[in-house]
């Protein structure tokens, strides 16, 4: 029984509310962990806290930059900052930046703890459920001998202890469950009910820009839960879709989640995409990554671009959804703020990725410069958060509005 019957007319405050929805709008599928009232309240709080920091605290950091940090820098050096690193290092001396940073870091740590509290306390039950759903389904291919790349093992991305790959118990899926319950927090509900806003955005783009495209074989690299590849698989039900990741807990959870959601044309394969001898040259029509490139290293990214060129058939397309590159047109302050996750939220390749010449990387991998793709895509979260449709909140690297970079072979 809910309480709605007793509140026949919403109060003026409730009518005016355009903030985050209650996190109970998150879609629940057959492998989604059980959550208590307290777990859900914690997710609500942390999502609101992230949004508060973005809407109400970060603007004061900008004011501090304009009114005192930048003038002090210029007085000391007799010139403006030359690059985003100088801006960031100057900001590190400012109490407003440091307060915002300390709160943002603490919020991320609390999010991880909240999600892990949900996932770890039912780790055994979730592993058993995943096993029951998956059984001996051939669509899961694990490689326990796979070396975990240094860019995954050196620091745990976004403060996620154990990252994507650590297995705490046999058949562990807890890393996947933790990731799934927390996406709403970090993105402030902007990815929609199934956290698949990135995948839905790319499907919309492909349908609009490549009408008549009928991919038979699709490769999604760095798929984690498969949350972004499921809309692609659903949009092209006749295609064979392969979701790659290095983390076994993600892949187990991903297949169980896909099956629970009734998507049956995705295989989940444990592999490092720099080395894919199991796939033949020209055997894919579409290679996709979604918010993945920034978690790599330069050499692995170059190797993945080369693999993508090898694996695509002529006429095939590779598409990467990412946060925008640091162009000369982007103010150094914005670049420095976007770099925050690189240095303070364990996303160490983020800074490098966003400054390099991606076009040159495509060309080096064998793609034709005249066939490169540049566009913008953004998530549509109207299913759970209609007020966000015209959201002006900038959360420096976490907003669900991305650049699309890619190439046709």
């Amino acid at each position: 029984m809910d309480g709605t019957a007793a509140t026949p007319s919403p109060t003026a405050a409730a009518t005016a509310y355009d903030g985050l929805p209650d996190s109970r709008v998150i879609g629940r599928h057959g492998i989604f962990p059980e959550t208590t009232h307290d777990d859900v309240a914690r997710i609500n709080f942390l999502a609101q806290l992230n949004r508060h920091l973005a809407m109400n605290v970060a603007p004061s950091v900008k004011t501090a930059w304009e009114r005192r940090v930048k003038p002090a820098f210029e007085a000391k050096h007799g010139r403006a900052p030359r690059d985003r690193h100088e801006v960031r290092k100057a900001l590190l001396g400012d109490p407003m930046f440091n307060t915002w940073s300390a709160l943002r870091r603490a919020t991320m740590e609390q999010r991880q703890q909240a999600g892990r509290w949900i996932a770890l306390r039912q780790a055994e039950e979730l592993a058993a459920q995943a096993e029951a759903i998956i059984g001996d389904d051939p669509r899961l291919s694990l490689d326990p001998a796979l070396p975990i790349p240094r860019y995954v093992s050196a620091v745990d991305h976004h403060c996620m202890a154990g990252s994507y790959h650590t297995e705490l118990i046999e058949g562990d899926v807890s890393a996947g469950a933790n990731y799934d319950v927390g996406l709403f927090i970090t993105t402030g509900g902007l990815l929609g009910r199934w956290s698949d806003g990135g995948g839905r955005a790319i499907v919309d783009w492909v349908r609009r820009e490549k009408p008549g495209f009928k991919p038979r074989r699709i490769l999604d690299i760095g798929a984690t839960l498969g949350h972004n590849v499921l809309p692609i698989a659903a949009a092209f039900p006749d295609a064979e879709v392969i979701a790659l990741d290095v983390g076994a807990p993600m892949l187990r959870y991903g297949l169980a989640r896909a099956k629970a959601l009734g998507i049956d044309n995705v295989r989940f394969v444990q592999a490092d995409a720099t080395h894919l001898p199991m796939f033949e040259d020209g055997s894919f029509d579409w290679i996709q990554t979604t918010m993945f490139l920034h978690e790599l290293s330069l050499s692995s990214m170059q190797a993945i671009f080369a693999q993508s060129h090898r694996l695509l058939r002529p006429g095939g397309v590779v598409l990467h959804v990412e946060q925008p590159q640091y162009t000369p047109a982007m103010p150094l302050y914005e670049q420095a703020m976007r770099d925050w996750d690189a240095f303070y939220n364990n996303e160490p390749f983020w800074s490098t990725l966003h400054e390099i010449d991606l076009d040159a990387c495509f060309v080096e991998a064998g793609f034709d410069r005249s066939r490169l793709i540049h566009d913008k895509v953004s998530a549509d979260a109207r299913d759970i958060f209609p007020a966000a449709a015209d959201d002006k909140v900038e959360d420096f690297g976490r907003k669900a509005a991305w650049r699309l970079v890619g190439a046709e072979k």
Binding site: M1, D2, G3, T4, A5, A6, T7, H37, D38, V40, A41, R42, N44, F45, L46, L49, L92, F97, N98, T99, S101, A102, L103, R105, A106, T107, E109, Q110, Q112, Q113, R116, W117, L120, R121, Q122, A123, E124, E125, S153, A154, V155, D156, C159, M160, A161, G162, S163, L168, I169, F343, Y344, N346
Partner: protein, 123 residues
């Protein structure tokens, strides 16, 4: 058992050294405070659910809660609880206040007394 796993590891340190933006002591207290702030929100949401369910079932209306006026005895019990609560929360401030006079009166560290007592034994 999974709950032991969760207790031990839910808050585990991620790989990669933690950056500090404030004095470490201050940032530690801030992080503890924000966790407490979070848990207050969690408790508040549970109370809100309780109130709404009680109202929906016709047991207690929210209007009755908002309009509740304690009797003198109830107000006294509540006042006493607030006094006790503040005394608990601000214990260190009470003790630091008492230390001003105590220090002036020759209050010592236990370590200083230990040295003194050892000297007594040697003498």
């Amino acid at each position: 058992m999974s709950v032991s796993l969760a207790l031990a590891q839910a808050g585990r340190k991620p790989a990669g050294k933690r950056p500090y933006f404030l004095d470490a002591e201050v940032e530690r207290v801030l992080a503890i405070t924000m966790a407490a702030v979070q848990e207050l929100a969690v408790a508040r949401e549970r109370i809100d659910t309780l109130e709404r369910l009680l109202e929906a079932r016709g047991i207690v209306s929210r209007e009755a809660i908002e309009g509740f006026i304690p009797t003198a005895a109830q107000a006294a019990e509540r006042g006493l609880w607030i006094q006790e609560y503040l005394a608990r929360v601000l214990r260190i401030v009470q003790q630091e206040g008492e230390a001003v006079a105590a220090s002036a009166a020759g209050d010592l560290y236990s370590e200083e007394v230990a040295v003194e007592l050892r000297a007594d034994a040697a003498g």
